[in-house]
């Protein structure tokens, strides 16, 4: 039994949901991804409680410190230990099953430990008073120490956690995928559904790994320099280049923006890979691999330099020419999305679909993702940005991109679940989850965007003015709907029955 399987067995409640099937000879493929999925859902449970506590703290007019603590911890938990870890787990599982490579190396295990220990360290720092939002807002962490908002010790602890998370995202995950793609021997016993880099479903995995590695390195270098200085290993005078606010802002958004884009490329490739398995006529082919690949390349090329849209409102510190470039590139990503919409619609129209909770989660996640893409490109227009930047519109976009991608990954997970655990999920509960999640996500997304249109600031602990509390109530209502959907999902995992018990009900092959 592998270390990962042993850990899963010892975890109360969640361990039962993701217990690995050791009888199929696929433990080397399943164990670490299953443990990562388990951990990601633990973080999700924490993130849900924190998310609901935000509108509640506003409605009951609690201390603003509670709101800022919750928003920092909620954002961080949602983005990294939940969404990214879930994506990495399912992505590794997919890659392993397509390439016939075990997920047992040092990169996979270190990814798990670094991500979760990093998350725990950051959570301790936040609960101890470090309230810097998940976007760090540098130089706020340092200014906060100087103004007595939190201690240097909390800053060092929080940055240590962030550093571990960054290493797992920027180095360990990409290296795991690259090592599976280009190194090691293929094992036929681990091949579930062979794919090559020519397949859109695999091309996106490779693109995302390289984007994370290349676009994340500048942040890793700057953050490492700052951290070494905070530890006292390097004199602060040696790292003044790294502590410049604008240096940090540049490298942070080059990474953060491209992290989201890389996750989008990965999830779209996962949609491309999974959709054909549910086509009604069994041809199992996308309408056109060529157009699907073209859409991924457009998304990749246009998104890399569209990060300038984070700085439009700094004009003229960000020259107008770079603003226009960011504007054009951001909207050009929409043409890649339009091609993806076409490919999916044409595939569905041409072949028809077999309904399944996993597939519906993927398709509803795709709808939410495209709807969010519209909010993203609107705020990436220079003129709109001057009314919307810094409002709840931005929070709505960030939240919607995370919850839409999460739904798509949960859909892929529902598809992989029988292979991973040897157990079958209930379709009715699965469908109920998808419906509740979609309604909750749509409602909460539109509530945020409308709040932004009304000028409600983001990360702002005073909703009781200008009539903004109405949006707070809507966010709470639809947030509870989202939470209810995830309780249904957890129930479904908990009630899953072994495939033998269910008579080996057919699932689309992978």
């Amino acid at each position: 039994m592998s270390t990962a399987t042993a850990i899963i067995k010892r975890v109360p409640l969640f361990g039962r949901m993701f217990n690995v099937d050791t009888s199929t000879g696929l433990e080397e493929l399943n164990a670490w991804p299953a443990l990562m999925v388990l951990a990601s859902f633990v973080w999700l449970a924490i993130a849900i409680l924190l998310g609901i506590s935000m509108p509640l703290s506003q409605i009951f007019e609690l201390d603003s410190a509670i709101f800022y603590t919750a928003i920092t911890a909620h954002g961080a938990a949602m983005a990294f230990p939940f969404t990214f870890q879930l994506m990495a787990a399912v992505g590794m599982h997919r890659a392993g099953g397509c390439l016939g490579k075990p997920i047992t190396g040092i990169f996979a295990s270190l990814f798990f430990w670094f991500m979760n220990i990093g998350g725990i360290l950051f959570a301790i720092a936040v609960l101890s008073g470090l309230k810097i939002s998940y976007a760090v807002m540098y130089p706020l962490p340092v200014v906060g120490v100087a103004t007595g908002q939190w201690s240097n010790w909390m800053l060092v602890l929080g940055f240590s956690g962030i550093a571990l998370i960054l290493v797992s995202v920027i180095v360990l995950y990409p290296l795991q995928i690259i090592s599976m793609l280009f190194f090691g021997e293929k094992r036929e016993d681990l091949v579930l559904s062979p794919r090559s880099l020519k397949d859109p479903g695999m091309l996106g995995m490779a693109m995302a790994a390289f984007v994370l590695l290349i676009m994340g390195l500048p942040l890793l270098i700057v953050a490492s320099a700052v951290l070494l200085a905070l530890y006292g290993i390097l004199p602060m005078a040696w790292v003044t280049w790294a502590t410049e606010p604008m240096t940090f802002q540049w490298v942070f958004f080059i990474f953060a923006h491209n992290l989201m884009e890389a996750m989008a490329i990965m999830v779209i490739s996962a949609v491309y890979a999974t959709l054909p398995l549910y086509l009604a006529d069994g041809t199992r082919k996308l309408y056109s691999d060529r157009i699907a690949n073209l859409a991924l390349w457009i998304l990749l090329v246009t998104s890399v330099t569209s990060f300038f849209h984070h700085f439009f409102t700094m004009y003229p510190a960000l020259p107008a020419a770079l603003s226009y470039h960011g504007n054009i590139m951001s909207w050009a990503t929409g043409t890649g999305a339009a091609l993806t919409i076409f490919t999916i619609c044409a595939t569905v129209w041409k072949h028809g679909l077999r309904p399944g909770a996993g597939l519906m989660a993927i398709l509803m996640g795709f709808v939410l993702y495209i709807l969010d893409g519209v909010s993203a490109i609107i705020t990436s227009n220079v003129a709109f940005s001057f009314q919307l930047h810094g409002t709840m519109w931005q929070s709505g976009h960030t939240m919607a991109v995370l919850i839409s991608m999460s739904l798509m990954w949960i859909g892929v997970l529902l598809h992989h679940y029988p292979v991973m655990t040897g157990r079958q999920l209930d379709e009715k509960l699965g469908m109920l989850f998808v419906k509740l999640y979609t309604i909750g996500a749509l409602g909460v997304s539109w509530s945020f965007l409308a709040a932004g249109a009304a000028g409600m600031p983001r990360r702002f602990a005073a909703w009781n003015q200008e009539g903004w509390m109405m949006y707070g109530y809507l966010i709470l209502l639809f947030g509870l709907c989202l939470a209810a959907s995830l309780i249904v999902l957890a129930l479904n995992f908990k009630r899953s029955r072994s495939i033998e018990e269910t008579g080996g009900a057919a699932v689309p092959a992978e």
Partner: protein
Amino acid sequence: MLEFIYLSGWGAFALLLSFQLPFMFFFLHLIYKKTYVDSAPSDTSDEKITKFKNIWMTVVVVLFVAVNLMSIQYMPAVSSARAVASGQDVMEVDVTAASWSYEMSTREFVAGKPIRFTAKSTDTVHGFAIYSPDGDVLFTMMLVPGVTASSLIYTFKEPGTYKIRCLEYCGAAHHEMSDEIIVKASTS
């Protein structure tokens, strides 16, 4: 109409829905029809689907280009340059933001007169957003310490009391970082 779309949050929201809703209803209808009504393979020819692709991509590109071209006149860099080119006197206002207040060279303005707001931060990242008396964001600027001050020219149309808020999270009292300016009616 264009002013409403490009210069107010609700204009952006209206544009958002006009893009989102047709896509959402079309996609959901397609999924429903090809999953539950008739999931059999369609006999539509590839030629027709290719034609649909060409129409779809043309519509997307035309819409994207139109929305962005029409927005140019509302971009602050362009509207500021126009204000300078008009030859009108531009009133200069310096703003310095620091946790959690603003220092401003003046807080009283006259409607109809262009004003250049030049704003900087001295400690951490702050925002400088001006709200109309109705509560709409007129514009916002991000102020990052250590870089060139953010700057734009704005002309208030209506007299009244305008609220200023920080829209970049800046610590424990971020929500209390606000101010007010008075815009008086033009006497000329």
